[in-house]
Amino acid sequence: MGEAVIQTMNLTKVYKKFTAVSDLSISVNQGDIYALVGQNGAGKTTLLKMICGLTPTTSGKLMLFGNASASELNQARTHMGTMIETPGFYPYLSAKDNLEYYRIQRGGKDQKAVDHALEFVGLADTGNKKFRSFSLGMKQRLGLALAVMDHPDILILDEPINGLDPMGIKEFREIILRLNQENQTTILISSHILGELSQIATTYGFISKGKLVEHISAEDLKEKCRNFLEIDTDDAQKAAQVLKEQFSISNLEVVDRYTLHVGEQMDESGQFVKALVENGILVSQVYRSGINLEEYFVSLMGGKENA
């Protein structure tokens, strides 16, 4: 685990009477793919905008690469690539001209940086096609091309796969993983498409109503979302003893007086029932259970709100 490249300490953003982000503290380490997960209106975009300097903070502290002053933050942002909400470009310019505009603006000396960026995202063949004629997927790719053009150390992506088709999502995912694995680029990505995030994220930050609800590594989350056998008996404690002695099961949890969760040898459920019955334990039902990422998210958010 590398050192923290993005740190927020009690970051707060208040719009008149509405608190969009409240005392939010996160830490993104170098090399992480940090997934920011939350419902619509949870505060994900507001947080990212504060990190990118697009909206002033109300209170709290932001540090990038360990720097906190305004001028240091601006300097640090030159090592960041960002894609916040819908990509914005000049509709009457081609992909190449749009990127060239930013290359000149940023003082990029490598004349081929634009071509490399377009090639990287698969837009090298667009020629003189104007941005206004691009499909949504192409626009998203151009946004990503701009973000990666200067080989940033940090990539900040706000809902980058919204509106993409499955093929586009797959390609986007592969690009992100390649950047992280080949260039050790740290990635902070927000989305509510949980299935996609689960394939790439190394760390998760769950946000609800402007507050950080949970910060968890991918390994720990996988552990929490594991499958298990739920065995309903008349004496869960005795049942647990029997299973431990006869099957050497260690991954076992007595949930309550009647319920047992077994996290290993789940294919032996028939043997379990036989052993329990032989030991005088009544078994009312046995079934596979578990929660996926979406269910975990919903349980964190406290109900059946939309993801």
Partner: protein, 241 residues
Amino acid sequence: MLKLIHADLYKVFHRAYFYVLSLIVLGLSLVLIFGLHNSSAPFNSASSAIQLATECITYPILLLPCLTDIVMHEEYREHMVKNTLSYGTNRFLLYSAKVLTSVILGVIMMAVALIVYCGSASLILQHDAKFTPLLFREFFARLAAACVVYIACLAMAAFFSTLFSNNALWIFLFYVAFYMSDLLLKLFRLSGGIDYLLKIQVTNIIKNPVSQLTTPIAISLVTLAVFFVAGAVLFRRKDVC
């Protein structure tokens, strides 16, 4: 800041809009000259063309919001400012660069129009006794003073453009602020402030003797400073997306 200006000029010169605008200005210049050419004496003389140009000093202000739109407001409209600011660009520098770029484009357009207008006047119209270097000196002195008003107007346009995201609204307010402020001040019984309006400075530049151009220039500079600072402060606090 030079990189920001360079990038904006790259963008402007890679679209037809600015060229079309310049062609329109060119066309209007030629229409005026040919109009004078086809009229009777003394209006068909080169000196009349210069005097007409002096009278028309106020009209370029009509085009200034177009320059602010293509340099600055378009970026708000297309949600592009975030691309620049998220790279760490200083907001004050960015705002200043935008205003300067619109000034540069105005200078280019004016130079082209002047070359065509004065050149065609000199070639096509009759040279009379009044067509002297003194006439040119006076005209260019008034035009130079008017340039300060134009730049103040660009600062005003930049301010309104930053204040209001709606295109029609900020342009409308710009024209109201320039052309109707005197009526509004009279309405609110603040007639004492009328003498400090940009519209009045332009009128004074056209009508007053050349020796009395210092006051309109000074008032325009103050107006420029006020709107520029106000716009920069507004932009610094603007929530961008």
